[in-house]
């Protein structure tokens, strides 16, 4: 098991998958922070005064994290932040589904109304969380821009 987790090629593939997903997910939010702010509001979890601040900062965190994971700079911090973000996303999406709030997650595009989509995204997030955990535990250090 340890050997599989530490496999260089597997780790690189997972880095690409997680990194590209984070970059793609951040794109629409960076381009249209207003729509992303609306998506955050839909979750009914965050005080109104914090919504825009999160909508302004979070997409860039996602994007830089994605780049850091792919290219291997600030790698450890990026992997930890990616795991924390996945936990938060899964909690937010799960709580919205449990509370019966009809929403699209706002993960990859502007907000829309669809509970089915929320379920699909929750499963997708769970898979992505598993991949992010692999990065957390892998000791592979190949193909990095920086040593840390």
């Amino acid at each position: 098991m340890r050997r599989v987790i530490d496999n260089n090629l597997l780790t690189m593939l997972v880095r690409l998958a997680v990194g590209i997903t984070f970059i793609c997910a951040s794109y629409y939010k960076v381009v249209d922070p207003g729509a992303f702010a609306k998506s955050i509001w839909f979750y009914h979890l965050v005080p109104g005064s914090l919504i825009n601040i999160i909508a302004i900062v979070l997409p860039w965190v996602e994007m830089i994290c994605g780049l850091g994971i792919i290219f291997g700079f600030s790698y450890r911090g990026s992997v930890v932040v990616a795991n924390v973000m996945m936990l938060v996303f899964i909690f937010a999406l799960g709580s919205a589904i449990v509370r019966g709030i009809s929403l699209d997650c706002g993960c990859f595009k502007a907000a829309a109304s669809s509970t089915n989509s929320a379920w699909k995204t929750l499963w997708f997030d769970l898979v992505l969380m598993l991949l992010a955990l692999q990065l957390l535990f892998s000791r592979s250090r190949r193909w990095f821009l920086t040593r840390l």
């Binding site: 509001w41 109104g48 965190v61 994007m63 600030s74």
Partner: protein
């Protein structure tokens, strides 16, 4: 996780967040289309849950409150139907609503009438039906009819246009009714 010392990770996370904040606020304030740091989001504690009329029965379409109504409206995909008479509809209604007056529904071929009124919209599209407010049950009756005809995602906003206005939300006026 071996050799992952916590101070290095903390520093990297700090730099990551600071750089992100700089880029985000730079984008927000320097590039057109940005948003302000503090938005005008209505407090979600403002609503007291959906208004459910005494006439409601088990099996009726779900009743939604102002928060959910606003959320559905913001999606741009949910159809809003004003069940009041055209003169009330024209005075002030929820923006983008379609007027289907319950009192004017035909007795024959209601399904075809609704299909035409909704431009052949599929029956699984989200629909919010409303009228004036608590004293008006046109929305309830229209919703029951639509549910019976197979529309699967009908919701009733029983607070209606009055609650919409009470919360300071934008209304659409087709004619001036103030004089």
């Amino acid at each position: 996780m071996r050799n992952w010392d916590s101070s290095t990770i903390f520093k990297q996370i700090l730099v990551l967040v600071l750089v992100s904040a700089a880029l985000g606020f730079g984008r927000a304030y320097l590039v057109p289309g940005g948003i302000e740091a503090v938005g005008k989001w209505r407090s979600l504690s403002g609503g007291d849950g959906p208004i459910i009329p005494p006439a409601a029965d088990e099996g009726d379409p779900p009743f939604i409150d102002i928060n959910v109504a606003q959320m559905e409206h913001s999606t741009g995909r949910t159809i809003f139907i004003d069940a009041r008479e055209p003169d009330e509809f024209e005075c002030a209604t929820i923006p983008g609503s379609i007027n289907i007056p319950f009192e004017q529904l035909p007795e024959d071929d209601l399904e075809g009438y609704l299909n035409d009124a909704l431009n052949g919209t599929p029956k699984d599209v989200s629909i919010v039906i409303f009228c004036s407010g608590e004293e008006c049950d046109l929305s309830l009756h229209l919703a029951r009819n639509m549910q019976f005809l197979g529309y699967t995602r009908v919701m009733i906003f029983f607070g209606g246009s009055r609650e919409w206005v009470k919360f300071g939300l934008e209304v659409e006026r087709r004619r001036n009714c103030d004089e």
